[in-house]
């Protein structure tokens, strides 16, 4: 049974070998002449200010969570829309309830001020 997976194993080995190989080979073969400009994250454009490893404001996470909620809503809405006719009023009611629950979340979020940046 397992031999049907053999091609996948081969593919994985090739991919891994390629990834590791290219990095190792470029290390081995390539020339290294580092300078301050070269080591900067961006070689062109804006000069660097401060470290990149800064704490991100928690507000971003709030937005991210809100996004996930609506993301899931959409993920459910698409397949529902496909069989919308067959499911009929029952399906519409069920989806309505689902959206209603999300709306309650939205109202809560809104009232709590999660949608305001400051």
């Amino acid at each position: 049974m397992l031999d049907t997976y053999l091609p996948i194993l081969v593919l994985i080995s090739i991919a891994v070998a390629f990834a590791i190989g290219s990095v190792v080979f470029s290390r081995l073969i390539g020339q290294k002449k580092p300078s301050a400009v070269k080591l900067a994250p961006y070689e062109c454009g804006m000069p660097l200010i401060g470290s990149a490893r800064e704490r991100v404001s928690v507000k971003f996470y709030l937005v991210a969570v809100t996004f996930i909620v609506f993301d899931i809503e959409v993920a459910f809405l698409y397949p529902w829309a496909v069989v919308f006719k067959q499911l009929g009023w029952y399906g519409a009611g069920a989806m309505g309830f689902f959206i209603f629950v999300l709306v309650i979340g939205l109202i809560y979020e809104w009232k709590k001020g999660a949608l305001e940046w400051e």
């Binding site: 067959q86 399906g91 109202i107 809560y108 009232k111």
Partner: protein, 493 residues
Amino acid sequence: MENLAQIAMQDVNFGAIMPSLVLVCFGMALLLVTVFSPRGKTTHVAYLSILALVVTGIVSLATWTPAGSLVGNWQEGFGGSVRLDNFATFFNIVFLIAAGLTILMSDDYLKREEYPIGEYYPLILFTTAGAMWMASGTDLMTIFLGLEVLSISLYVLAGFFRRQERSNEAGLKYFLLGAFSTGFLLYGIALIYGVTGTTKVALIGEILANNPSLLTNTMTLAGMGLMSIGFLFKIAAAPFHMWTPDVYQGAPTPITAFMSAGPKAAAFAAFLRVFVIGLAGLQDQWTSLLWILAVLTMIVGNVVAIYQTNLKRMLAYSSIAHAGYALVGMVAANAIGLSGILFYMLAYTFMNLGAFAILVLAGKKGEDNLTLDGFAGFGFKRPFLGVAMSIFLLSLMGIPPTAGFTAKFYIFAGAVEAGYIWLAIIGVLNSAVSLYYYLRVMVYMYFRDPAEDYGWVKMHAGAVLSIVVAIIGVFYLGIIPGAVMEFAKLAIF
């Protein structure tokens, strides 16, 4: 495709999730109530959530029928992934009582600790709903879903005091380790699904019974082991108990009380259903494991509790020990033992929540006063609370005529009947060890000179009510356990 709607409608039976549905709707409504209420006003939310629990209780009891046991008739819904049988109803009532007592003792506590935040109550309701799904889930996925709903709400509740380091630590530790254990559970579910091709508990049992070769399959055994870890973590059995003391100590006291009763009972409910029904064919295997773990859990809980000077932490270890006693009933796996677990959960809910309610009242702001020394002379300065605490401690010890005695009696009677005499003896010896640390609290309360006048202890109506209810429960189950035990038996057989 045309019949999709019909099929969907036939399989969906909202009656099967009615109690949790009512609870969740109340929870959502209360979220809105909270958010439209002025800041710092939470008392009405507490009242409304009590109302929610009462309504849910009525709905739950309405579904009780003598024939609706674990192996009898039932209300089924969602294509057989939820089932409202007496087993689920009994546990639902336990959860509701736990949640109710918790909410009763919470309101003034939250004000004292300066966290008058209304979301607290809906979160408890959601936790309870999750617990209900765990108890009534007959599909591993439903059980998992219930577990997650329960856990996520609990993570938030454990870390509810967000400006307090201890509480934060509790929430985070619980989350990390909880997620870790959930991983094991999911892995186990996946393996079992791989073997049997289904996640329906009853079907798993059937398939295993029809294919004896599967019983020795590596994947089945590994799946069972991994699944058991998920549940053992939730019931805080050794060696998956390490989170308990830290989380119990750090979480707000009412939440600690709730965690020790409600979610633990929920985990037992799911554990019982999956193992007794789904993995019945492997009973020899899991009883021999649980035999060892029950002994280990009792010993670890009781022995380490001896060294604790913080009462909250001591009760955390004691709760580990009590999980061990309940596991004894599962090892016995007969009528008395299994219904004994149901009885034990109810009894434990009353006695432990009662004891925690007293800690809630006795603590200063910031829970400053929960050491043994802080209870010196408490019994004389606060006679009612002293007597109540003594009653709960006696019940936790298992002294008649309290609930703790009858509960332990049923469990150990089950073990003896099933032939696990040594297990029962070890259990009784452990109870003897537990006398030491429970009695010590009483010694401090009554035989030490009071160091304080306990002027800050305010007798709030809610907390007092929860204490009184718990006392009534402890004595009712201790003196007239027959009726409830009958219910518990009807839930199993």
